[in-house]
């Protein structure tokens, strides 16, 4: 077996093995039990005191959501103002300019919703100040927002009957200080030792061996990258994200970064089991997610290591695999693994160009985001799965003639309506968005031309570029078929809207379901209860997700990647 495959397997094993103890630790943090980081408690108390927050005040799901939405609104204005005025602010040794109004709108929204879609290039679109006080700050706090929301849901699920789901501020801060900050420091140390820059000097100017001048962008990259991965943010420090040799200098940094993407989403599933004391439930959920993840890793690894058949026809040696848009030190297997890791979560960082991956790899990348429930973003990923669990409970309850119950609570019409709306928003936003873009492309070519022509590839692949962009926005992923010329009025605004809808509607809906269920009377388990921690139910949930989420997209996928597949493989 070759070393590239062994590297991929090692990464997956490290994720799964370490996610278990981390999940145990996270459950302890959210329950307020003793942990090894309790020496941070005075700092937290001090912050709460200054901010006038009582961390022990219990909140109803409504006031929990109000606090969550208010601080997000505040962050929106914070980000907009700093991005607009960045050229007047300090820490700008390269003299980069401000962002246009529609670009700063898109950037601000995209980082606020934990998506990190980037319509600018990191080297020239931001200053060191905005990298640290907008981008990196948001990468910490928006990830913490998702985790806090999930911690609220845990509390609601664990309680027998309750009107409160914990304190949002408390969960938000603890997610930062106890989980994200210490892990980011460790990853940061490794990156720095391996050669990722962490300084405040401007571009390095040098004369190359052949006598040309080369300007090398650098800066505090090693601070942004750890949290970009751990918080499933994905917004790269440099334009080409983790394929940049300074952002990801060695195979070791690649392993660490890829591990960082999936470790927290995986740990969250185990945390659920420890928190609810229902380990078997978390194992079945983990099993479904891992199965789907491994399937897509298998497909992508196969196609990327096999190479592009159109290039094979030219009679050259493609033994190394499809190398267009990939890096030598990482190799196609590592890029295939990363492309699935980043799309099953809502991370969106890349270590190779997705636009240049093989048609079916591109399809799996899209499908992972379209389904959007396999591990998912920190916190919010499991919440998406939660909505589908509710639907699966309801459907299987009807199929076997039992009252649909989940964890001792009856699932009724109100929760079902919310869950269905949440589940359908995602395909709605993606397909309508793509349809509008296609309409403009076909019927208003003058408009598209004035915006720079949008597409970088003709034919089926061009459609994939547009479909991918809305998929990535709606999944709050942020990766792209980057050939798309997307820093334009049309794309900045429409994807900005998609981002807002698909972040806040599901969060509100899922917390509401949990809150509504928590208020209901607890029914002890009996012989008539539908068991939700069995393999049968796991298969059932998988089928519901596959039918509802995946099949809505197949017509669109047929016209894009599947058509492209047949055009080059037949």
């Amino acid at each position: 077996m070759n070393t590239e495959l062994i590297g991929s397997i090692a990464q997956i094993v490290l994720m799964v093995v370490l996610a278990y103890p981390l999940g145990k630790y996270i459950a302890k943090v959210y329950k307020g039990e003793k942990t090894c980081l309790d020496f941070l408690a005075p700092v937290e108390r001090w912050i709460f005191k200054i901010c006038g927050i009582n961390p022990n005040e219990e909140m109803s799901w409504k006031s929990f959501l109000k606090a969550l939405l208010t601080i997000n609104l505040f962050w929106f204005f914070w980000g907009m103002i700093l991005l607009w005025t960045q050229q007047y602010l300090p820490l700008n040794p390269d003299g980069n300019g401000g962002q246009s109004s529609h670009l700063s709108f898109n950037t601000c929204i995209s980082f606020m919703v934990n998506c990190n879609l980037q319509h600018y290039s990191g080297e020239s679109g931001l200053t060191y100040f905005t990298q640290l006080f907008v981008i990196m700050l948001f990468q910490f706090i928006t990830a913490a927002t998702g985790m806090a929301a999930l911690a609220g849901i845990f509390k609601a699920m664990a309680a027998k009957t309750t009107n409160t789901i914990g304190n949002f501020w408390n969960l938000l801060l603890k997610s930062c200080t106890r989980i994200l900050l210490p892990m980011s420091l460790i990853v940061g140390f490794i990156l720095i030792i391996e050669g990722t820059p962490m300084g405040f000097d401007g571009k390095m100017k040098l004369t190359t061996l052949e006598g040309n001048e080369q300007l090398i962008s650098q800066g505090p990259a090693a601070a942004v990258i750890p949290i970009k991965q751990l918080g499933t943010n994905g917004g790269g420090y440099f334009g080409v994200n983790s394929s940049h040799p300074l952002e990801n200098p060695t195979y070791l940094t690649n392993m660490v970064e890829c591990w960082s993407i999936l470790i927290l989403p995986m740990a969250m599933v185990f945390a659920l089991g420890f928190y609810l004391k229902r380990k078997k439930l978390s194992y079945t959920i983990f099993g479904v997610m891992l199965f789907a993840y491994l399937a897509s890793v298998g497909i992508n690894t196969y196609y990327e290591t096999k190479g592009n058949p159109m290039i094979s026809q030219m009679g050259i040696d493609q033994g190394a695999g499809a190398m267009e848009g990939k890096e030598t030190r990482l190799g196609p297997a590592a890029t295939a693994l990363w492309s699935c890791t980043t799309t099953v979560t809502s991370n969106g960082s890349v270590n190779g160009m997705h636009d240049s991956t093989m048609p079916l790899s591109g399809m799996m990348e899209m499908l992972n985001m379209q389904i959007n429930t396999w591990f998912g973003g920190v916190g919010v990923g499991f919440m998406n799965y939660y909505a589908f669990l509710i639907i699966a409970v309801f459907i299987s309850g009807l199929m076997v003639g039992r009252t649909p119950e989940f964890l001792g609570k009856k699932v009724e019409a109100r929760e079902m309506k919310v869950a269905t709306i949440v589940a359908l928003t995602h395909p709605f936003v993606i397909l309508i968005g793509t349809a509008v873009a296609c309409y403009y492309w076909v019927y208003n070519p003058a408009f598209v031309e004035a915006e720079g022509g949008w597409l970088n590839n003709p034919g089926f692949h061009g459609l994939s570029e547009m479909l991918y962009e809305y998929t990535s926005s709606s999944a709050n992923n942020g990766s792209g078929f980057e050939g798309l010329g997307d820093n334009t009025w049309f794309w900045n605004f429409t994807t900005g809207l998609a981002l807002i809808i698909s972040r806040y509607l599901p969060i509100v809906g899922q917390v509401a379901i949990a809150g509504l269920l928590a208020q209901k009377k607890f029914i002890p388990e009996s012989a008539g209860t539908l068991k939700t921690d069995t393999v049968t139910f796991a298969v059932m949930t998988f089928s519901v997700i596959f039918i509802v989420a995946a099949l809505s997209f197949f017509p669109a996928l047929t016209l894009g990647p599947i058509a492209e597949y047949f055009s080059i493989y037949m």
């Binding site: 062994i6 090398i216 080409v240």
Partner: protein, 193 residues
């Protein structure tokens, strides 16, 4: 709402102190001690002059040097605007580019057969700044470089072999050769003689 807004404001400031200041300071301090070049990109020197960043590829076109991969960053290896080609696998224009690159490569390496040309030498890297090539891609260039420099191919081959970096811990990931380091070693070889 108003009270929540005040809390939001104060908490955001606290987060700034925690992350944008303290966290950054710790990492910066660590970089001053533990990073290869005090927090800046690691550099390679030749005769006391900095000739490049170790991890950032640069353009090589002369016959006396080993060549790196095709690049789409700016006009080629522009390290202030990294970029891949983002061309899809079925893109005709892209396939024509690859074809042209193969033909050019064969012109400069007339001793090669078509099936010996590795795909990575005719396809663009993701960042446009790929500092490495595979050992295979280095071996096939040995004859050209040796001829251009008028030294024995065996010597150049030995140099390439010395610069092959194995997988991580011997088992994880691909083998590679850093093009800049190899070329600098070539220069040093000449000055020694």
């Amino acid at each position: 709402m108003i009270s929540n807004l005040f809390k939001s404001f104060k908490l955001t400031i606290a987060f700034c102190i925690l992350f944008s200041v303290s966290y950054i300071f710790i990492l910066w301090l660590f970089a001053q001690v533990a990073s290869p070049n005090k927090g800046n990109a690691d550099v390679v020197e030749l005769n006391g002059r900095i000739v490049g960043a170790a991890n950032v590829g640069q353009q090589f076109t002369k016959d006396i040097y080993f060549w790196g991969r095709p690049s789409h960053a700016g006009d080629g290896y522009d390290a202030s605007s990294s970029s891949g080609s983002n061309k899809g696998p079925s893109n005709e224009e892209h396939l024509a580019d690859v074809q042209a690159r193969i033909d050019t490569f064969l012109v400069y390496h007339p001793y090669l057969k078509r099936e010996q040309v590795p795909a990575e030498m005719v396809t663009a890297s993701a960042s446009g700044l790929d500092p490495d090539i595979s050992p295979k891609a280095a071996y096939i260039q040995v004859q050209r470089v040796a001829q251009a420099r008028g030294i024995s191919p065996d010597k150049v081959m030995a140099l390439v072999n010395a610069h092959v970096e194995g997988p991580l811990l011997g088992i994880f990931g691909p083998e590679k050769v850093n093009v800049l380091k190899l070329n600098v070693a070539l220069e040093k070889l000449e000055t020694k003689e």
